[in-house]
Amino acid sequence: MTTRAIGARIPRNEDPRLLRGLGCFVDDVNPAGVLHGAVLRSPHAHARIVSIDTARARALSGVVLVLTAPDLGEQNQPTPLLIPNPNLTHPRTPRPLARDEVRFVGEPVVFVVARDRYVAEDAVAAIDVTWEPLPAVASIETALADGAPLVHADVPGNRAARMVQRVGDPDGAFASAARVLHEQLFIERSCGSPIEGRGVVAEYDPRAGTLRVWSSTQAPLPIKNGLARLFGLPEFRVDVIAPDVGGGFGTKIMLFYPEEILVPFAAVRLGRPVKWTEDRREHLIAATQERGQRHDVEVAVDADGRILALRDRFLHDAGAYTPYGIVVPIITSTQLPGPYKLRNYAVEFDVVYTNTAMVTPYRGAGRPHGAFVMERVIGLIARELSLEPAEVRRRNFIQPHEFPWDVGLTFQDGGPTRYDSGNYPLGLELVLARLGPGDFRRRQAEARREERYLGLGIGCYVEGTGIGPYEGAHVRIEPSGRVFVATGLTTQGQGHQTTFAQIAADALGCDPADVTVVTGDTRKFNWGAGTFASRALVTSGNAIGIAALKVRDKVLRIAAELLEVSSDDLELAGGVVGVRGMPDTALTLGALATVANPIRYAFGKEAAEAALRLVKPRKGAVLAPGEEPGLEAYGYYAPPHATFASGCHAAIVEVDIATGDVKILRYVVQHDCGTVVNPTVVEGQIHGGVAQGIGGALYERIVYDEQGQPLTTTFMDFLMPTTMEVPEIEIIHTETPSPLNPLGIKGVGEAGAIPVPALIAEAVDDALAPFGVRVREMPLNPGRVLALLAEGRATA
């Protein structure tokens, strides 16, 4: 009997290649004769393009092509709106190249192709554009001010969307509540900033009429189908490959980024391969960003701190366009209730255009903001009633017997926001037991006597994961005995080549190391959506499980025929199938794959033997009617609706009141993502998520000046945490399997990042309680902590 692969700490299949420097990232793709692109981007947040003179650029030796908007013709149409919504009354998507007006610094205006990147950048510098600068709005406030300049002349008041949702009778509950509390909260802009930026390579073969594109994307399939439409090519003549992708975090799924059209356009026009690789400055101004909301929240509570109703009004900064619709604020509004019973809830939001980079989902996708608001409300109640925040949570948690729990709102996928399973009180108790809050209060009091300020913060979240529409998989056993798995979505560090292999290996009774997984290559599998919304393992994982079980059935059926036994008597394990208790009957998967293919290129001793020994004289056709050759199958999985993972994080911090520095002394995570396929991989996901959350809570900030000029355009200005800022993270796994899918899996990709700002806020509040500090804004960089202290002292 082999041990189960699902649940095992298996080292990753992808590592040896990556560790040897043999990964293949998009900038490593170098088709013969490849040319290099560079983009002239708008230096203005808002301007009219009066004229563009490209003569000097074209004259440079080595410059091959210079494209402006008119050169793109029909292909310069606005990119499709990814997720329309009736509340998004004024959607606006960008064109690959700006036509007459630019709306944010970084918007592409001219695309240059040259012999190498150096010459391409020389050419960009030699283009003369006459601009007529227009007034810009760089923040939600200025965008909504009376008479504010308009980002889009035909969008009144800069309002893209407005959405109102209501559960129960919030007005009634507010009217009769013992207490009503109110708070204003603000979360600043940040961004995903994977260490590998974006990049696109395209190659067009005019003889075969085929277009092949490599993109550092999280969703090659929609790009493939979209490019086919845009260029009038049959879908089967367009392939898009996401090779190794150096981190995505949501940033690499925008559909379409302008460059994903510009590079293929140039390759088709020139009949030569073209590459564009984003540099960091381009990434920090022109790739999409997120966070950026202002909330006005009111809560009605009874005398014991039970929440009776909550009302939230918020403003969401969309940046200059809304290519991704209003998914982020919808997630904020639907996930804000978190693990708490909220029977009366009213939420409304406005989505506001500003002259800044576009906003699309970044790890957490609206949830960190929602959790920040909800958990700040918990802190507010605790303060008002002189309770421990943990106690307020206990009094409001949805209880384990109350599942499925219907929040009463429509989720981002159009399905219900219905929590399928979980145990929220347990999570909190496990975390507290690890940290010892009683002991902490004693240490905190001692430290205060020495003028050291320690604080404890807790953050709880519920995350809707594993949304549809669906994913699929192809599973095939080869005559070598190796298993090949292909699925349409991509991987950008999550270890899918291992976890997907574990799922297939369990179904097929083989070693995960013998399973090769291909993701994000439309040549290998071309149905599905992409990797986002913590959905990969739920959707593709289950699809792979389904396909592999079909292959398993065929393995058992063929083996039963060959061995002339009932398939019930067979055992499949360790890569062989045989009659239980009779090891000499064992047939390898490879031998069965050989037998299953009527044209047996029986290379190798084992295969040759299998062909000779196992194949019986046949009656009739080689393939019986309805039979297919080989050991392979396709499987698809479409979730009924999202499955809801959850967790509770807590940290002890120390605040230095002289410098404003916040140091994390301990960090404990409890998380529940249902069935854990590989605990090591899950822990890695959480570590990384928490680190990004810490970045968002303490350091990272995308800053624009009043004219809309981005000020954080290098890693010296946009401060991501290093080894020195991220503490050891202690993890407690709990497993409440999802009843919604066969493997019981919930997603975990984004989880780590979600509650971090909320709990850091609570911890800093707690540490600085003697100064009457109340955290209302994120991130808490030293300057802001010092300002809070000054404010607290002044009002004390």
Binding site: L19, G23, G493, G688
Partner: protein, 161 residues
Amino acid sequence: MIPPEIAITVRVNERDYVERVAPRLLLSDFLRHQLGLTGTHVGCEHGVCGACTVLLDGAAVRSCLLLAVQADGARITTVEGLARDGEPLHPVQEAFREMHGLQCGFCTPGVLLSAVELLRDTPHPDDATIRRGLAGNLCRCTGYQNIVRAVRRAAELLDRR
């Protein structure tokens, strides 16, 4: 006017190259695109992320902050040189595999070379030393915890050699 190319001689991963390079060509681009050693990655091109770290005459340097011409006469080790074709993984690489010290693998080559330098100078580092030694390598995926564990483990594996 583009100035003429300059001939340089470098020894990369124990192999000698005589190459002609443009004076402004970055060392990172030279390694990646002229020598085809794409294991060295570029994450920022302004000297902060450390993804492009290589060993130049034994010292960890950022190849995006050097010109290829500055490497004339130097000896360079890139990630491809840690374990060459057919050789088993270098102990530092092995430790990163064991401890899940990488996710997307983009920062990894730079982290590995910083770790090699760190462990050469400090064969038995404590965690604080490891963290300080790797503070110049940004990783957006791992949260660093398993990187630190991997370097600790690498110290053990190197001891056994």
